[in-house]
């Protein structure tokens, strides 16, 4: 029997049992479309994260407080202080600007609306620029207000909507943060989730106000006000590694610590990207395994039905053997049938997977990116699964004794 004849016979056999053929393919269809959709989702997620990280603002170095010096049972101490920022700007070459951030969690009221556990961010005037935030209404606070500790606030869009019903009538209103009454001077445009940070559910104000009202420290006069983070915007032309080393050495000297016991950490965009990449890689391989398992289950489905089919067609096999089919002919016939089933299943699965990815991307918040690689992967594994799980039933068919097979009722 020649391959094209085997294909024709397999095709006819599939057509003769349309419903059964479809049910057999169902496992493969689900498996292949699952692989494509899942890879599309994880690729979409990855692309989104990549974009968000890039949109954090380029050429940023994050210096964060890490309170390592407190022993067990002791109050943590140390970390960054407000004056470190100015020292960095002055002492490190290649820095374009420095923005400081300190945060607290407070209850906010406006009229009869109360929001609990809202994060308030005290920052300096450069904040919208380094974090790529755009003012939708009003303005951000200015240097004068920062210096004079003026009680003004800029709202994230979610907070504005929750307090005032919409983003465009908040400016000019007053809110009460803990016990402090503040004027709303601006509202940010919606920013969405960046990583796992929701910039829209926060409010922003001069960091000096935060120091005075919300993170008041009686020793600040001697030690300086603690801050959470310094954003350092560096000159894109400058050598990043050199700047990081300068920052680390300067801060270690100021804090009187060695680099090994530093109470701060320096992170770059690249570090964050690497972390995110390893997370999404894990996510992707998890999805891959799930989809792979469903492909294997699909293969077992094919094997099952093919075994049933061999039993059901015992007499047909006997007839073919009587007129001269060898074991190889019979094996080829059933193997071709299994292969053809999984290839057709793979094609349908690809169509369903690509279509499903589009639909999923359109109706849900998640983004999907379809890659040719995932289609090839899914399709290839379907064919391999078909050949692998088709071999055993085909071999069973080939081993039948012609006399027994002809007698089979």
């Amino acid at each position: 029997m020649k391959p094209f004849e085997a294909m024709r016979i397999a095709w006819e056999a599939i057509l003769k049992n349309k419903v059964r053929s479809f049910l057999t393919m169902l496992g493969i269809i689900i498996g292949v479309s699952a692989v494509i959709i899942m890879v599309a989702i994880s690729a979409g997620t990855e692309a989104t994260i990549q974009e968000q990280i890039t949109s954090l603002g380029s050429d940023l170095v994050f210096v964060q407080s890490a309170m390592t010096r407190g022993g067990p049972g002791q109050m943590p101490s140390g970390g960054l202080v407000y004056d470190d920022a100015a020292a960095l700007e002055e002492g490190v070459s290649g820095i374009v600007s420095v923005v400081v951030e300190q945060a607290s969690t407070e209850t906010i009221k406006a009229g009869n609306v109360t929001l609990e556990d809202i994060e308030i961010n005290g920052t300096t005037t450069g904040f919208p620029s380094v974090r790529d935030m755009t003012i939708a209404e009003g303005r951000y606070f200015n240097d004068t207000e920062l210096e004079r500790k003026t009680k003004v606030a800029v709202l994230g869009s979610t907070v504005a909507v929750e307090l005032f019903g919409s983003t465009n009538n908040a400016v000019g209103q007053y809110i009460t943060v803990a016990n402090t009454r503040m004027a709303v001077v601006g509202v940010f445009e919606e920013r969405g989730l960046v990583g796992n940070t929701d910039f829209d559910s926060r409010i922003y104000m001069p960091i000096t106000v935060v120091f005075q009202k919300f993170t008041f420290n009686p020793f600040a006069r001697f030690m300086g006000d603690n801050i959470r983070m310094i954003y350092v915007e560096v000159d894109p032309q400058a050598n990043l590694d050199t700047i990081i080393t300068q920052i680390e050495l300067l801060l270690a000297k100021r804090h009187n610590v060695t680099l090994d016991e530093a109470d701060f950490s320096v992170t770059t965009q690249q570090d964050i990207i690497a972390t995110q990449e390893s997370t999404t890689a894990a996510f992707r391989s998890l999805l891959g395994w799930v989809a792979g398992v469903s492909l294997i289950v699909g293969g077992i489905g094919i094997m099952n039905i093919m075994l049933v089919s061999v039993t059901e067609r015992t007499r047909e096999i006997g007839i073919r053997q009587a007129v001269g089919a060898t074991a190889d002919d019979i094996r080829l016939q059933f193997l071709t049938e299994a292969l053809l089933l999984s290839i057709i299943g793979g094609l349908i699965g690809t169509a369903v997977g690509v279509g499903g990815s589009y639909v999923f991307g359109a109706v849900s918040d998640m983004r999907t990116v379809i890659s040719a690689g995932s289609i090839l992967l899914a399709f290839g594994s379907a064919a391999i699964v078909g050949a692998f799980f088709g071999y055993y039933p085909a071999n069973q068919a080939a081993k039948l004794d012609p006399i027994e097979a002809l007698r089979y009722e």
Partner: protein, 247 residues
């Protein structure tokens, strides 16, 4: 008239089923000879070994001992694949239950053996042409695209006969060819076999029906795995008799 030569020669064939203590001998040393162009019946009560002999003659199984020479070739110890090749090229089967492929046209059933004609060059048009002429020979030229379930029992058996002949076999083995048919269709099939025989086809027919066996030239009767007796029927005479009976 085709030149006389021996198509089938079995020499002291035995067939033992099972192993060790519970083995059962189906054939205890059968030696028969069938010449080219003969129409022979193999008869015997059930358990006599006639099916076993038919399977060996039909190359569906091998003898436990003894020799089987088919068309001048010793096939007693060929491999399964080689036996399949012999079945394909030298033997045409006609079964009691027709054994056509379901949901497959008469034409495709007839061309089925050509599918396994290894080594032969492929020409689908020629094959179909030949299948057409075979269906014409059995009187079904107008039924080529009918599927088995659309045909009567007699017509199905005719398709099976056309299939048996497609590879120009050296002999046709018919296993109770009229067993599933009413007497009228049965007679038509027997008439067709006679026609083939008159054209020179060697036919070996297995049956338990003495009336059917009487159509042949020679009846080999088996009993307990041995040849019991061989009778010459005087074919021309029996044919006349059959005609008298039907008139």
């Amino acid at each position: 008239m085709t030149p006389r030569h021996t198509i089938i020669e079995t020499i002291d064939i035995t067939k033992v089923y099972g192993m060790g203590d519970i083995s059962v001998a189906a054939l205890n040393g059968v030696s028969v000879q069938i010449e080219a162009g003969e129409f022979v019946a193999i008869m015997g009560p059930s358990g006599s070994g006639k099916s076993t002999l038919m399977h060996i003659i039909g190359c569906l199984s091998r003898p436990t001992s003894g020799q089987y020479i088919l068309d001048g070739e010793d096939v007693s110890s060929l491999s399964n694949a080689q036996l399949a090749g012999v079945r394909n090229k030298k033997i045409g089967f006609i079964f009691q239950a027709y054994n056509l492929l379901a949901r497959t046209s008469a034409l495709r059933n007839v061309t089925l053996p050509l599918l396994y004609n290894h080594g032969a060059s492929k020409n689908i048009e020629k094959e179909d042409e030949k299948a057409h002429s075979m269906l014409e020979l059995v009187g079904l030229a107008d039924r080529t695209h009918h599927q088995p379930h659309e045909l009567s029992g007699g017509q199905q058996q005719r398709v099976a006969i056309a299939r048996a002949l497609i590879n120009d076999p050296v002999m046709v083995i018919a296993d109770e060819p009229t067993g599933n048919l009413d007497s009228h269709s049965g007679e038509e099939i027997m008439a067709l076999l006679h026609k083939l025989h008159s054209q020179g086809t060697t036919i070996v027919m297995v049956t338990h029906d003495p009336k059917i066996a009487a159509h042949t030239q020679r009846t080999i009767t088996l009993k307990d795995g041995l040849v019991d007796n061989i009778t010459h029927n005087g074919k021309d005479h029996s044919e006349e008799k059959a005609q008298h009976e039907t008139i």
